[in-house]
């Protein structure tokens, strides 16, 4: 967290658009809460932790908005903060051995009534849901880092350099995690991996 809010980490080329976006916490919430929630929820597999982390992340970003200088996108910055918060929470929980941890992961079956109909037929919607469920199951066997990087790349559509910025990892490390994640998903979806 200290790293994320350190002004020295990010160059000072702050744009007015970014500044005004960070100055309005409601706009920040509207723009990024859902994406952050998805990122943290699927990275950790813990819905309660995800909501807590997203809440803290938005608040910390707002309070530390002066330290953001626009070297990366706002979402990359937020993802970096969220990643650090997840590590902090998990480090705290690791010592709370008396707590019965019951993870409540995201449940795609909740989306039964809100799937985008578009032009697709009900059969296609059911098929799409099944494929998404397969990906979800495949992600469950991955490590947290692999899941995070997979979600950043394929769900949030972040570029590899952005992922490196958000995670603080080397490009080769990111690619290795990504490769393992893709292999697991490919195997689950029915590929030849």
């Amino acid at each position: 967290m200290q790293l994320a809010l350190n002004p020295g980490m990010i160059g000072c080329a702050m744009g007015e658009t970014i500044q005004s976006e960070l100055d309005d916490i409601e706009a920040l919430d509207r723009a990024y809460r859902a994406r952050l929630l998805r990122f943290v929820a699927y990275s950790t597999g813990d819905m309660d932790l995800a909501e807590t982390v997203v809440q803290d992340c938005l608040l910390k970003a707002y309070n530390g908005r002066e330290t953001f200088c626009g070297e990366c996108s706002v979402y990359t910055w937020l993802a970096h903060i969220a990643g650090n918060l997840v590590r902090d929470h998990q480090r705290t929980r690791k010592f709370q051995f008396w707590r019965k941890v019951q993870k409540t992961g995201p449940d795609l079956s909740e989306l039964t009534g809100v799937l985008p109909s578009g032009e697709s037929s009900p059969e296609k919607q059911i098929l799409a849901r099944e494929r998404a469920q397969q990906v979800t199951v495949a992600l469950e066997v991955l490590s947290e880092k692999q899941r995070s990087i997979f979600v950043m790349r394929f769900v949030d559509e972040m570029e590899l350099p952005e992922i490196c910025q958000a995670t603080g990892m080397q490009m080769s490390t990111v690619k290795t995690h990504l490769h393992r994640a893709v292999k697991a998903v490919r195997l689950k979806v029915g590929g030849r991996a």
């Binding site: 494929r131 490769h179 893709v182 490919r186 991996a193």
Partner: protein, 199 residues
């Protein structure tokens, strides 16, 4: 990965994309030879479409799910609350005052309920207690005494009646003493003195 596949023209393809190449393909890195391979290899092309389609479905549905979940969350407050922010709220003070008043009221009520009988007992003096007791008991005693007096009078009258009857009965009987001219003169007194009667 050296599996056989077929091209659109029906030619067999001996080499497919490796795992790393497949990952590069999904990431978006598409060298020319990969593009050419996908054109020729139906199996790799189909697999790439299937996996990327599944990931796309996952991304779309997870975003819908997250938007739905986020819609139920309240918007953040703009400032961080201090640790004892509740102290500056007037509602907190009013609530605390009401709570204290309620607690004191309940305590006083309970205390009064507990001490009232004791205080009442302590407030009465022995003279008052005796007076109260006498006032309460006197009518009962008078009544009992009257009943006892009436009972004794009745008993006395009954005894007198029975004695008279007994005397009359004894007077009618012929006793051995009367046969010999003897007459009990002091029967009631029990002196057993016998007086000879003259025949």
């Amino acid at each position: 990965m050296m599996e056989a596949g077929s091209t659109r023209e029906g030619k067999r393809v001996e080499v497919h994309l490796t795992d790393e190449q497949f990952t590069e393909l999904l990431i978006g890195s598409r060298p020319a030879w990969v593009q050419a391979h996908l054109v020729e290899c139906a199996a790799c092309r189909e697999e790439a479409e299937r996996v990327s389609g599944a990931i796309g479905d996952f991304a779309q549905q997870s975003l819908l799910w997250a938007e739905r979940r986020a819609a139920f969350r309240p918007v953040q407050t703009t400032e961080r609350k201090p640790a004892f922010a509740w102290l500056v709220r007037p509602q907190a003070w009013v609530g605390a005052a009401l709570t204290i008043a309620l607690a004191v009221g309940i305590g006083m009520t309970l205390r009064r309920d507990h001490t009232q009988p004791v205080q009442q007992a302590a407030a009465t003096s022995p003279a008052d207690a005796a007076k109260t007791q006498a006032e309460t008991v006197q009518p009962v005693v008078v009544k009992v005494q009257a009943e006892a007096k009436a009972g004794r009078a009745t008993l006395k009258a009954d005894n007198a009646l029975l004695t008279a009857i007994d005397g009359e009965l004894r007077a009618d009987e012929s006793t051995p003493a009367s046969l010999y001219g003897l007459e009990a003169t002091s029967y009631r007194t029990g002196t057993k003195s016998v007086k000879r009667t003259s025949n």
